[in-house]
Amino acid sequence: MTRVTLQYYAQLREQAGASSEQVSTSASTLRDLYAELQARHGFSLPIAALKVAVNTQFSDWNRLLAEGDTVVFIPPVAGG
């Protein structure tokens, strides 16, 4: 299990009900992690609509998770 800190923006924050959380996950990549979270929180946005960043750098969805990573999921938002 890998312990990671997650930060959510916009609709993801709303659907998760929190702007951040710490989780222990068996997911190995960011893609697997998002699928796991989608099932848990009912996230409506597909991966194609999102950017992901790890430790303040944008990242590839196939990146492997490491202990202590801070992962941020970012959808584009429309309001003005």
Binding site: Y9, E14, L45, T56, F58, I74, A78, G79
Partner: protein, 560 residues
């Protein structure tokens, strides 16, 4: 029958009065404004009125319509003179006929107050000493604002006043996309601007000393701002601080794009407007606000949203663009046009308590919006202020940050070397800067320019086929026949709640649709199949349109 006129010739009073006669009239009230021989202690020898004609007529007609609705009068007319007038000449005439005297008096008072307050008419006073001054024809006091709230049946400004769009074809709304872009230039510099502060009138010279004092700005920086042309797309929550700060800073030319009228629900975040402005076009309100804030700024207004067919042309007239709409499609369109015309673009957007900020420099090798998110998500997934809510200061903060980025670019202030997406969460008080690696973005798909060109071409083609509606009943009201081109099982899962013809996209009959003798709006789940079917139907002479974004883009698919 209401009529507002601007005229350079003397007014025929008898004819004006005659035109207001009505069998139901029990009272007629007229007001005449004359040129007097003194103003604010100075002897005046004559006057010259100059009007921004199109806007003045549109606004004048709106004022007459408001007075008619507010006070329930039968007819109202107004005539305003332009050009040179001598002492004693009639400058403005207002006439109202109504069933009873009270409405006639009140409506007449309302019209003259609003004309003085709202019409873009400038008065040049010639003084006996031989000099002259331009005086803005605006008053701050309006009698109807002092009326008790329920003194009459129509207290509020009408909320339904919408700008009239010329119809260019048989189809409803066609004018909105194929009509020529409405463009008004308001040059105040040429009018030797004067402003009125209370009773005192003086010529206004902007004072930029507080910013010129900054070592990085100086007189050289101020000249750069005066020479700069900036386009602000959207005069709403983000646009209000952007327009205010850039006008205050002395940016020479501000282009302002907005197709909306002000709604009461805008006021909690769009702080340069007030309750009296409801129902008026935001571009006009913003232009008026800039004229008062800094009359040396030239304002160009665009009262229709930019579209794929004209956006690149418009961008080439500006040094910098600030995108402030609440619309993802507009943001992507602006991104593509910025990249293609090498115009720097400052993007921001907000969601509830947070926001995003990105500067697209539009220089080769530097990242654009599509480098992050190659395509916008379906509109229904993106969220907007309408659906998701937003706290007023959030666009205020992000718009202020956009103004700052714009000034940094125009002045050439020091910048971080990398390009980043900035995320701001105002609930947590956190902000993070995520550097964007351009080599992982559009570079993988031929580069930003190639990607932007393809996207703009696609938007152009789609735009010619599509109609945008939040609710299908609005489409029905506009005269469209709705044709559901989805498969029966899809329709069963999410039926449309308006009368529609069912015709799966594989089995469309042009003959049937042609006989409807109405424009048809094709609807599918996402807008793809309907766009394809629209193209085929048009080749067979059917006046067909595709619902942009399909059922997924409707405000509430279950009830629309």
């Amino acid at each position: 029958m209401n009529r507002f006129e601007l005229t350079a010739a003397p007014v025929d009073l008898a004819a004006q009065r005659e035109a207001l006669k009505h069998p139901g009239s029990g009272g007629f009230c007229a007001f005449e404004g004359w040129v007097r021989n003194n103003n604010e202690g100075r002897e005046v020898s004559g006057l010259e009125y100059e009007a921004y004609t199109e806007l003045a007529i549109a606004e004048g007609e709106r004022i007459l319509a408001e007075a008619t609705e507010r006070y329930g009068v039968l007819a109202a007319s107004a005539v305003h003179r332009v050009g040179n007038l001598a002492i004693g000449d009639l400058a403005v005439w207002i006439g109202v006929s109504a069933p009873h005297r009270d409405e006639a008096f009140r409506a007449c008072r309302y019209i003259i107050d609003e004309i003085k307050h709202r019409l873009p008419i400038w008065k040049k006073e010639h003084y006996l000493e031989g000099d002259h001054a331009w005086v803005a024809c605006s008053h701050t006091e309006r009698a109807h604002e002092l009326e008790p709230p329920h003194a009459h049946g129509h207290h509020h400004h009408p909320h339904t006043v919408v700008p009239a769009h010329p119809e260019k074809g048989a189809s409803p709304e066609k004018g909105a996309s194929v009509g020529a872009q409405c463009l008004h230039a308001v040059t105040r510099e040429s009018l030797d601007p004067s402003v009125r502060w209370g009773d005192e009138q003086k010529s206004f010279t902007p004072d930029y000393s507080r910013q010129v004092r900054l070592r990085e700005v100086g007189e050289g920086g101020q000249r750069k701002l005066a020479d700069a042309r900036v386009l602000v797309i959207g005069a709403g929550g983000l646009g209000v601080p952007v327009i205010s700060y850039l006008a205050g800073a002395g940016v020479g030319t501000l282009g302002i794009v907005d197709g909306d009228v002000l709604d009461a629900s805008n006021l909690h975040r769009q702080v340069m407007y007030d309750a009296r402005d409801i129902g008026q076009r935001k571009v006009d309100l913003a232009a008026r606000r800039v004229a008062r804030l800094n009359p040396s700024v030239e304002v160009v207004t665009y009262e229709q949203p930019l579209h794929a067919g004209d956006i690149a042309d418009v961008f080439t007239g500006y040094d910098l663009v600030v995108e402030c709409t609440d619309d993802l499609a507009s943001r992507y369109l602006a991104n593509d046009a910025a990249v293609l015309t090498s115009t720097p673009l400052v993007l921001a957007s907000v969601y509830q308590y947070e926001g995003q900020l990105q500067v697209v420099t539009a220089e080769p090798g530097e990242p654009c919006l599509r480098c992050l998110w190659p395509d916008p998500p379906a509109p229904a997934l993106a969220g907007s202020c309408v659906e998701s809510g937003v706290l007023g200061p959030v666009p205020g903060v992000l718009g202020t940050m956009q103004a700052m980025e714009a000034l940094k670019l125009l002045l050439g202030l020091p910048q971080p070397a990398d390009h980043a997406l900035q995320l701001v969460n105002l609930l947590d008080g956190t902000s993070q800067r995520l550097p964007i690696d351009a080599s992982r973005g559009c570079a993988l798909h031929g580069g930003c320019v190639a990607v932007a060109r393809r996207a703009l071409e696609r938007a152009h083609t789609e735009g010619e086929l599509e109609r945008h509606f939040d609710r299908l009943d609005a489409a029905v009201q506009s005269g469209y026949a709705i044709v559901d081109v989805r498969e029966p099982d899809e329709i069963d899962a999410a039926p449309l709640h308006v009368t529609s013809l069912r015709m799966p996209s594989g089995a469309i009959s042009a003959d049937t649709l042609r006989h409807l003798e109405r424009p048809v709006l094709l609807v599918c789940a996402s807008g793809r199949r309907s766009a394809h079917a629209t193209r085929l139907l048009r080749e067979q002479g059917v006046d067909a349109w595709s619902l942009a974004g399909g059922v997924a883009a409707l405000a509430d698919p279950a009830v629309s």
